[in-house]
Symmetry: C2
Subunit: 96 residues, 2 copies
């Protein structure tokens, strides 16, 4: 009975994990397009002002249960991964 | 003209950020319920076997653009944050 409840919650978690993966991947694809656009315009990829704005906006929208510090930490990791993606695209572009 | 393109992509990114925040928060709420259920059952919160299964499943579903190592890293951060949430709920519970 109790194990049924745990199984149900785990099923929900798996579904959310999958949706998170899809959204993260979509975020990665948009970041790649932004990287290409910045490349064309000769603008630096890393924009700390824009990053701060995004983090402030996310914290303003945060209703929990994660505290603001955790939200900042998790999104900073995603931003770093996106930047790495843009930079590796740049290297690939140079190698072509 | 080009700035319009960048603005459009940034708008898309903001929208995805917001959806990610909502999903992350939903994940946090489910993790809290799992923590309460485990508490009742006297089962440990941290389950490395289940965590490995979730990571393997995510990597199997990953179609890019992030590489598998990055997906593992990002999700591990989310898992750790969820575990911290369960543990702080436990402390609150003890203090009541």
């Amino acid at each position: 009975m109790s194990n049924g409840k745990l199984e149900e919650l785990r099923g929900q978690l798996d579904s959310v994990n999958q949706q998170l993966l899809e959204l993260l991947s979509e975020r990665g694809r948009i970041a790649q397009q932004i990287g290409q656009e910045k490349e064309k315009q000769g603008v630096p990829k890393y924009d700390p002002v824009r990053e701060k704005e995004m983090l402030d906006e996310l914290v303003a929208q945060n209703k929990g249960p994660f505290d603001n510090e955790t939200i900042r930490h998790l999104f900073k990791q995603m931003f770093q991964a996106s930047l790495k993606l843009q930079q590796s695209d740049h290297v690939k572009h140079l190698l072509v």
